[in-house]
Symmetry: C2
Subunit: 468 residues, 2 copies
């Protein structure tokens, strides 16, 4: 293992972090980085570096890292670009093992001086084998290590989970983080690769394959310099952990924007998609579906086959879900005779009792609803279940009724739901069902159905990869 | 005007409402309907009908409507189906002008007795010219009249607005209502057509064209008996008020489910879509987009042309939006020379200054951001603006900075935004911007872009319809 690869560990697990450019001035990024580390309760040593202060946020500060006597594992750098080469040389001299370079102004700018600076800076750390996140990034957060090495203290509000987001955009990372806070999605890490001085997608994926905190790898990609490296890395690690990717830069404008934003061309979109597919990477086409799919993969098993049962409290949402499942190649077949007979005994002939089952007539009989769910779970023809129910005060009791059976059966087969109530009314009860893994919940029937479709797509990809 | 058409007014504006089957027992729908009317602060007279009680919820009750001496404009019926023909005859005898029939068990059930009952019941009210919402519906709500004639008291939490939802599914109506409560979308009415005894989509659209509270008509459709009637009605009223429609029942399973749920076949999906299009109805393909599009049409003007400006605080979200705009036929052209020069003066050459504009380098200079927005608003080449910004504590001040310019320019050209902060942190400030109509906000850049695409699509439809 080369030195840089060995040092990747210290990017996420440093014992001591120096903030080069730490500040008490709220208008400086160095203030927000200090706040992220302290509010995020980083358990290691924090070393503010600022030539003008003895203390920053009440913590002893030093004019430079040279003036600090102890060992430093990580430097977070927020000073202007032109100062970075000297700072990096100091980092090398100090034996620092990892760097988060938040500063912008390298190869993404119009001026060729940016590209020169990029080369020069990369050269210093490459020779020393120091991995760098950035430049031009918000930073990153490792939730399991309570390391919020970013300028966004609110990332520490995220729930801990097993999804790692590796992103080329700070905007998309923030968007997904905010969505995740609302939709009960937990992350292991969120990493803003920025302009990738020496840590690109391929290197990060290799690291994450061995990261015990990460089960699902979600990528947001704009432009890549060496797409073959990413593809080879994905292929080499195929079948181990799911990789899902949302790639923008489809059109003319996006391609041009990518060059300017990340210093890399977005490239021809269709070629990417087909290469990703062959490498076992699941293609996703918007931010919502990226998070929705990561959530399902994080919490559900994969369906063994394409046959789905759709159980709903009202017919409309199940029609919306069935349309989507069918158009994406999943099947809504009949149940076994045994299951169907049980359902016919439990439901009056007022609504649809075959798959999709309209459980509406059982709204006031939660034991009937429990029995229907149990029968469908047991059905050998069913590989996954969509459960769609809109609650209001007229029918909230049934939630409690189905709780036990859902908890007991949690995710033996994937159970994806769209269980909703008026906002602020039974949110707690629905959240509780998610917390005990009884359901994996989505805000619309179509998004629930699409999450199931993507679980099945990935199952197919996994099977195909085994044959190769 | 025939009697039934004249009586449509009383469906939404009754002075007195009888609840036939009113109850103090929480397990009865008659309890929840009473709660809807009373919690919803219905300003007219409420007359509970229950042969076993003198009072329901503290309001004087009567054994039957015959026993009440005053006039009754509307009956809401929640008693079992087999009792409905007699009740309807009593309604006719009493001179009641409109009925909401919540009860299920008519032509949607497996038993042919259901269809017979349907015919018999329809015959009674048709002869008397009484419009009926239902059977098999949650009811409806008229927010401007504070009439919550449904079994869902929480519908009264909805914001008042100018969108009318006409839906064949209670589940979808509840889903959209819950979403609307979270996303600041306001309704004039939500109407659950149910199995359409004598009030179908065409009749409702005719009524809504003259309803001063309704600006946008959103339809959720499963199956229609006479699609030509709907098409003719839409064509006849073309260009007056936008009609947008989400139709499910695409696949084999959905079609079958529709028969069972609504008593009508869903029919061939592609034929519907093309007929809708020709009638000037905008086709929508999921619940989220139905609400998102209705929101944009409710609050924005239509773009005069296809040229969009994309202004963002971070490049990633703008790439996601541009991909979607371009793939749907909108244009992200260059600005006029004058605009471009202004932007070049305002932004350093650190990021993309042509369209899409990455305003990132102006995060800490809200006057520069204001000036950029003003220049783009003034640009004759720009027909609509997408504004995409993810906020956290490091950059929240800019929100206040751009507020004035956005308020001043509100919707002279459509401004659609995705302005987000960590949940619960600056929600208030963002909500406030929506309330003063400075922005029309969406939770992802793709959803914001799709809303703009649909405004443009409808503009095209309107232009085409004028030529016919």
């Amino acid at each position: 293992m080369d030195r840089l690869t060995a040092n990747m560990h210290y990017l996420f697990n440093p014992n001591s972090v120096a903030v080069i450019g730490a500040s008490d001035n709220m208008s400086k990024l160095g203030f927000h980085v200090m706040k992220s580390l302290t509010n995020g309760k980083f358990p290691g040593k924090i070393i503010p570096i600022n030539p003008g202060s003895n203390k920053v946020m009440g913590i002893n500060a030093y004019p430079s890292i040279k003036d600090y006597n102890g060992h430093i594992d990580q430097a977070i750098v927020v000073l202007p670009a032109k100062l970075v080469p000297n700072i990096f040389q100091e980092c090398v001299d100090k034996g620092i093992k990892s760097i988060v370079l938040i500063t912008a102004g390298f190869r993404e700018i119009d001026d060729p001086a940016g590209a020169n600076l990029h080369e020069k800076t990369a050269d210093i750390v490459n020779r020393a084998g120091i991995p760098v996140i950035g430049p031009n990034t918000f930073g990153m957060i490792n939730l399991n290590g309570d390391l919020n090495a970013s300028f966004t203290p609110e990332f520490s509000n995220l729930r801990k989970g097993n999804i790692c987001l590796v992103s080329q955009s700070g905007g998309i990372s923030h968007l997904l983080a905010f969505m995740a806070m609302e939709f009960n999605v937990g992350f292991s890490k969120i990493i803003g690769l920025g302009n990738r001085l020496n840590v690109d997608f391929d290197r990060m994926i290799n690291y994450l394959m061995t990261d015990p905190d990460t089960k699902v790898i979600a990528l947001y990609i704009e432009g890549i310099d060496d797409v073959r490296k990413l593809i080879e890395t994905a292929r080499k690690n195929r079948g181990q952990k799911p990789i899902i990717a949302y790639k923008t830069g489809k059109g003319k404008v996006g391609n041009q924007a990518s060059m300017s934003h990340t210093g890399s061309m977005a490239g021809r979109h269709e070629l990417y998609k087909s290469a990703f597919n062959q490498a076992g990477i699941l293609n996703i086409d918007n931010t919502e579906t990226l998070l929705d799919t990561a959530k399902a993969m994080s919490l559900c098993s994969l369906p063994e086959g394409p046959s789905m049962a759709v159980l709903s409290g009202q017919a409309g949402p199940s029609m919306a879900a069935c349309d989507l499942l069918e158009s994406e190649g999943l099947k809504i077949d009949g149940f076994t005779r045994n299951t169907q007979e049980k359902i016919n005994d439990l439901l009056p002939p007022l609504a649809l009792r075959t798959n999709p089952v309209d459980m509406g007539p059982a709204w006031y009989d939660s034991s009937a609803m429990q029995e229907i769910i149990r029968a469908v779970m047991d059905d050998e023809n069913v590989s996954g279940i969509l459960l769609l129910m809109m609650f209001a005060s007229a029918n909230v009791d049934v939630l409690k009724g189905v709780r036990d059976i859902l908890v007991k059966w949690a995710q033996q087969k994937p159970v994806i739901s769209c269980i909703l109530s008026p906002p602020g009314i039974w949110d707690e009860e629905i959240n509780e069902l998610e917390k005990v893994r009884a359901i994996v919940n989505y805000p619309t029937p179509e998004r629930a159905a699409m999450a199931m479709v993507n679980l099945w797509r990935y199952k197919r990809i996994k099977e195909t990869m085994k044959l190769n």
